[in-house]
Symmetry: C2
Subunit: 183 residues, 2 copies
């Protein structure tokens, strides 16, 4: 048997995640049957479940993926880039986050798995805060500034999910910079 | 037959709306069957549909109701009160708004009816702007300030729907006031 390269494996894993995200966004968790997962990923159930233990593991990986990606964009390209990404990307990730919040309320095992994702996210908080120090006002705790920026980013996401008009990001940034910039 | 008072009618209408909101939030539009509407409102289908022409009319009335309420809170009690309401109220209204956005994409008649709601909301914009004039900076168009504040309010709503921790409103207000206050 030929050895499958690591690169190929990662591309395949990503293909599964992107297709599954579409399936969960369209049909919800329960409605995303194995048949639909096959259709949306273009892969067989055998291939899909050689990468993920089961449907729940696939779903948890998706929740983690979008959180990780947005933190990464913020850290590497800055807050403005984060807003751009939220404003312009396919909002399927958002439907998955909302679906996840719904499942957290009703499914204990799922709640435990997501608690682990949350802990990992918290561990990254320090790096997000480090990025803000020095470029923001110092008379307000850095956690408050981070939460303010997070709330605004979520507001842009909300406009996507409710089909409200998106705010002009240049204008938004002017007010944000006055709000959090050095005094 | 005894004459039903206007007050009684309005209370009954409100009872239907609150129960139906719960039904739509829990089961989605399709899943909110007439049986479930009866259960959640505690009223018979006869009573429900003497107040609303059909299920769609009831749903549109709900979409309008939550927009109207939040605009009213903002105008009468100020922006901070709006954030409080969004942070602390039953977020069933939000599920209805998200469900409405989903239906707008797939149902043309529904899209037309919601366009009318949007027009009415736009007509109220001037009063919202009037409330901001004088108490906010004048080097940025008033529409931009209103959209910034709307985005933040939506971000708080988003935290409700995804079960994220809510921001501390006192802290949030400090940054908002710096951002949009008179220069």
């Amino acid at each position: 048997m030929p050895k499958v390269s690591q690169e190929h494996k990662e591309a395949r894993r990503e293909q599964i995640l992107v297709g599954a995200q579409r399936a969960f966004a369209r049909h919800g968790y329960e409605g995303a049957t194995v048949n639909r997962l096959e259709q949306e990923t273009g892969l067989s159930r055998g291939a899909i479940f050689s990468y993920f233990e089961n449907k729940q593991a696939l779903f948890v990986a998706l929740v983690r993926r979008s959180s990780d990606r947005f933190v990464e964009i913020w850290l590497e390209h800055g807050y403005r880039a984060l807003l751009e990404a939220i404003a312009h990307e396919d909002p399927a990730w958002l439907s998955v986050q909302i679906e996840a919040a719904r499942r957290v309320r009703t499914d204990e095992r799922f709640r435990e798995q997501l608690a682990r994702v949350d802990e990992d996210l918290k561990a990254q908080r320090e790096s997000r805060f480090a990025r803000l120090r020095g470029v923001t006002r110092d008379d307000v705790p850095i956690e408050v500034i981070a939460q303010f920026l997070g709330t605004l980013a979520n507001g842009v996401a909300f406009a996507r999910v409710t089909d409200d008009p998106l705010p002009d990001l240049d204008h938004l940034m002017t007010l944000i910079e006055t709000g959090v910039g050095p005094r």
